[in-house]
């Protein structure tokens, strides 16, 4: 239990660093928030009034405390473009993005884990060299560029998959309670919408996953290669275990744990990278929301996205850590 407590404390600490960063962004780097809030044509008197209302005449540390209080109450500020509370915007935009990241993560895991395991087993072989070259190529592909290319070729020229959006025209009326269409459509028993949602997810998820998969293969290989050198592999061989048995029954479980920690981190990074694909595929979501906010110079909305992605990142890490701990057979001995 000490381990879980330690992870939680670390996450709370990280949350404060995150709050400090977003405070820095919205109150210091971006210039005087009162001037931003008052709009371009406000007079000096109005700005002074706003400064007082917003507590900007107080010392920076007090301002930070007030800011933390607001955020922790769920107040992410008001978009000065839409005049809407940012928190409700973000809550609406988050499900489609999480859905996208979830599918991209599945692709990532489905490729990274087996390839990482096999290249670790056959380290130094032609196969390993080939995969490593593929990994380096994948790590050099601009996500947004490959998204455009895939969209043009697979969806545009070959018409294999839909070009853009979340659902086809026929299903445009669909809406669900959670905002996760894959889940909502299943709950409603509507396979048609489920498949349509999935079809719309394939290309963006694939484009989003490429870079992360390249890193994922490398991470898994590194984690597994050390396991293959351990004596328990020798003993398993001496016991007469077959190579597949050694790989899947013995090595995989031991090597996967450190790798899964990195995949947990990738979840948050992927959510951040949705800014590069959602706009291209015309999908609603937090990434597209951020890009729009950037073009409208809506600094508070941008900072809110930074904060929310950061929080999702911390939560994903915490959940993975706790899950690995709970699943770990040796929890009595840990921490």
């Amino acid at each position: 239990m000490a381990y879980v407590a330690q992870r939680i404390v670390f996450s709370i600490l990280s949350l404060f660093v995150l709050l400090f960063i977003t405070f820095l962004l919205s109150h210091v780097v971006a210039g005087d928030p009162a001037i931003v809030a008052a709009g371009p044509n406000a007079g000096a008197a109005k700005i002074a009034l706003l400064r007082e209302q917003m507590g900007l005449d107080k010392p920076l540390l007090t301002q930070f405390a007030i800011y933390c209080g607001q955020i922790l109450q769920g107040d992410l500020g008001t978009s000065w473009f839409t005049r809407q509370p940012i928190a409700s915007d973000v809550l609406r935009e988050l499900p489609p993005s999480l859905e996208l990241v979830f599918i991209a993560m599945l692709i990532n895991l489905a490729v990274s884990l087996p390839l990482g395991l096999l290249t670790a087993r056959y380290a130094g072989s032609r196969f390993d060299d080939l995969v490593r070259l593929g990994v380096m190529a994948g790590a050099g592909l601009p996500v947004f560029w490959i998204a455009i290319i895939l969209q043009q070729i697979v969806a545009g020229r070959w018409q294999l998959l839909p070009t853009a959006g979340r659902l086809g025209f026929a299903n445009r009326e669909f809406s669900g309670a959670t905002g996760f269409y894959l889940f909502d459509s299943l709950a409603a028993g509507n396979m048609n919408v489920f498949l349509d949602t999935l079809a719309h997810l394939v290309l963006p998820a694939f484009a989003l996953s490429l870079l992360f998969t390249a890193v994922g293969v490398r991470i898994t290989r590194t984690a597994m290669i050390g396991e293959f050198r351990k004596d328990y592999v020798t003993l398993a061989r001496a016991k007469g275990a077959s190579e597949p048995r050694i790989m899947f029954r013995h090595v995989f479980a031991n090597g996967a744990t450190p790798a899964l920690t990195v995949f947990g981190m990738q979840f948050g990074w992927m959510l951040g990278a949705t800014v590069l694909v959602e706009e291209i595929f015309g999908r609603p979501g937090i990434g597209r929301y951020a890009v729009k906010a950037v073009t409208q110079s809506d600094i508070h909305a941008v900072v809110a996205v930074v904060f929310v992605v950061g929080v999702v990142f911390l939560l994903a890490n915490l959940l993975v850590d706790i899950a690995l701990y709970v699943l770990s057979p040796r929890k009595q001995q840990r921490a």
Partner: protein, 276 residues
């Protein structure tokens, strides 16, 4: 630099070194050898397909894509190298300082770096860049801001390792001054490790710069930065595929070349990561 030519073991590595040298050369002299003015708008020659006149075609405003690509090499690469150099300088200063001070300050700084390092770098840079106001400079500083902890961690590790070795203790006994210890022992020893890491980071930083430019917080259209060129070409992709293809391939090949070189350098310079 000369050593770089003797290290490659495979044809892929040789090709990567040659490609990287070409890209660097283009980044230096590109602007002087471009066939056309990269900013010259000409509606009469817009959306021309690749030909002997315009090898890579022209874009939606009739600008020569090849000329923009050559100028872009300088813009994209100099931005990338600036981020890496500034990141190394800031990160190493903090890292080396942290290792020398030790104790609680060291602990706190490294914890901070750990947390910082974790946050999605792209989104952090996005926030910073848009807070500064969208421009290539903002994007560069934003990336420095989110990249320094990598090098702080790395340099602290190397420094702590060196400080724990015996020859430092004898240097202490001889009264070697601090700055001499840093410049004589720490930096030369950290150099190999850092150069490997920096080379491997080139592609990531370049992708981040062009990504930020693509979504509009970095270089602004019509600047010939490669990411911004892709953003600009998007609206013509149906009848001018070359506008998007050329800068994308340029980013991809450059990133791949530096990844291969980084992998090679790691094999040759970093004894801890040697494969069997």
């Amino acid at each position: 630099m000369l050593r770089l030519l003797t290290l490659p073991k495979t044809n892929i590595e040789r090709a990567a070194v040659i490609l990287a040298l070409i890209v660097i050369l283009v980044a230096i002299i590109g602007p002087f050898v471009t066939p056309y003015d990269p900013m010259q708008i000409s509606f009469r020659s817009k959306l021309l397909a690749p030909s002997s006149m315009h090898w890579f075609g022209t874009d939606g405003s009739g600008r020569d894509v090849l000329s923009r690509l050559l100028h872009g090499a300088q813009l994209t690469l100099s931005a990338t190298f600036f981020v890496l150099i500034a990141g190394v300088v800031i990160g190493c200063t903090i890292g080396i300082f942290s290792a020398f001070v030790g104790g609680a300050a060291d602990n706190a700084l490294m914890r901070l770096a750990d947390i910082w390092l974790g946050f999605p770098p792209l989104i952090l840079a996005l926030g910073f860049a848009s807070a500064l106001g969208a421009s290539l400079q903002a994007a560069i500083w934003a990336l420095v801001f989110s990249w320094w902890p990598n090098y702080a961690r790395l340099s602290r590790m190397v420094t702590a390792d060196i400080l724990s070795q015996k020859f430092i203790a004898s240097a202490d006994a001889l009264g070697v001054p601090l700055h001499r210890k840093v410049f004589r022992y720490v930096i030369p020893n950290a150099f190999d490790v850092l150069i490997v890491q920096v080379t491997l980071d080139i592609s990531a930083v370049m992708l981040a710069i062009s990504g930020l430019s693509f979504i509009g917080v970095g270089a602004q259209i019509p600047q010939p930065e490669w990411g911004a060129m892709i953003a600009d070409g998007r609206s013509y992709v149906a009848n001018g595929w070359w506008i998007v293809l050329a800068p994308g391939v340029a980013i991809f090949l450059t990133a791949l070349a530096f990844n291969v070189i980084g992998d090679m350098l790691r094999r040759e310079l970093d004894p801890t990561s040697r494969r069997r």
